[in-house]
Assembly symmetry: C2
């Protein structure tokens, strides 16, 4: 290559050179199949192994408890800003969804959620231009809420949680896009974490959602099938095209 | 490569070898940037040129009229099965959305649409196992409907429209996934066509939506921002991450 550039920008980030080189090497002929991995069916056994290996690696690296599902979903982290309340607001009769606003993306997260629940920003540092993480005390967290949403790292503002809020029995949900797999996190403290892949894990356009099993099954009726986390878990992220549940109807 | 395999399957299809070779060649260093195209920001001028060139090429190849927008969206064609009625049912007070059912995907298209409009299957060949395209006569098409949806090619069943139905003033919408750019089509006869890229145009997970401008602006209030075609057109398919309209709020 002409020169290697170190990309430390706030957008899509670098992938490790050995990973990129291996992708290039296999690009026209994946595992002797004579075609690229981007040309094979997502139901091919070779692709299934890619998917299962990625999930298993993530599970081992994070010491993820068995009662969490790992989903790969469309649209990057921002699509989840809407999908989260569609999937989770219904777990509380009040449909209260609590948000901590610590930057541009934290603000978008609660803005894009509006209309799918009773969206409440319980703390914000917007008035000091997101120069700090506002303190969260237990009495700020309505225990009837469907979830509490935080953004664990706010690249543009240089803030990051060293200790996560204790939300009691309310599931803690975290957008971890800009730091996922860059530090050890005890995922058993979270109901759900999610991240766009483009910072630390892969190309843009896809996101990972790690969700505790008891949080599945609360999607509102108007949730599109491809944004429904329970369906995604049932199909192990392979809902696209005619899937098993569709064929059963035939 | 070990051997070139000809993939004529119903799933993701082959891309031309010269295209694949060029991707491989540029994979670690896109246009001398020192990084891969999958590592650069979607707001970089080099990536913007990729986007604009793809749109311009499609426009020229299809002789697309100026009053149509070309959108690149998430989730493949199946995500559009829900997004279409979210965006378009509202253009008719009755919210009637008419479907012709000519195969598995045509069936999924109307199934995934349920809940976002008054979904009506006006003709189906399901009872003869999709062995034909049912005849569509003008009196079958309620002129108050928001749109009429067809699937132009049904690979598994070997059926393809040689002449498209005349829907009068009702916009004709077509899932063209399995044949897009494989034959000359007069897009001025359509309100909207869409296709997953994975058959003829590129990798899985993305779709192209070509939509007449007057059909934008009818999305229901609960349409997620990343499924809103009007927003996508405004942002020229770059809504992801903090975009202009978000920054205006700060």
């Amino acid at each position: 290559m002409s020169q290697q550039v170190y990309n430390f920008g706030a957008g899509p980030a670098m992938l490790p050179v050995p990973v990129m080189e291996r992708i290039r090497e296999e690009f026209l002929d994946f595992q002797g199949m004579g075609v690229s991995v981007i040309e094979v069916s997502h139901r091919a056994k070779q692709f299934e192994k890619v998917l299962l290996d990625a999930q298993e690696s993530f599970r081992q690296l994070t010491n993820l408890p068995d009662n969490y599902k790992i989903l790969f979903v469309h649209g990057g982290a921002r699509m989840q800003f809407s999908a989260l309340p569609m999937n989770l607001a219904g777990r509380s009769a009040s449909k209260k969804c609590l948000y901590v606003e610590t930057g541009n993306f934290a603000k978008l997260a609660n803005k894009d959620a509006k209309g799918y629940g009773d969206i409440q920003v319980i703390a914000s540092s917007a008035d000091t231009k997101y120069d700090r993480l506002p303190a969260i005390t237990p009495e700020m967290i309505d225990q009837d809420a469907a979830y509490l949403h935080i953004t664990t790292n706010n690249t543009l503002y240089g803030s990051r949680y060293s200790q996560f809020p204790d939300a009691g029995n309310v599931p803690l949900i975290a957008d971890q896009t800009s730091e996922i797999l860059s530090r050890v996190v005890d995922y058993s403290k979270f109901g759900c974490i999610y991240a766009g892949l483009q910072k630390n894990l892969g190309p843009s356009g896809t996101a990972i959602v790690v969700i505790r099993e008891d949080l599945l099954g609360h999607a509102s009726a108007e949730t599109p099938v491809l944004l429904n986390y329970e369906q995604c878990a049932k199909d192990n992220s392979l809902t696209n095209t005619a899937n098993t549940f569709a064929r059963e109807d035939q």
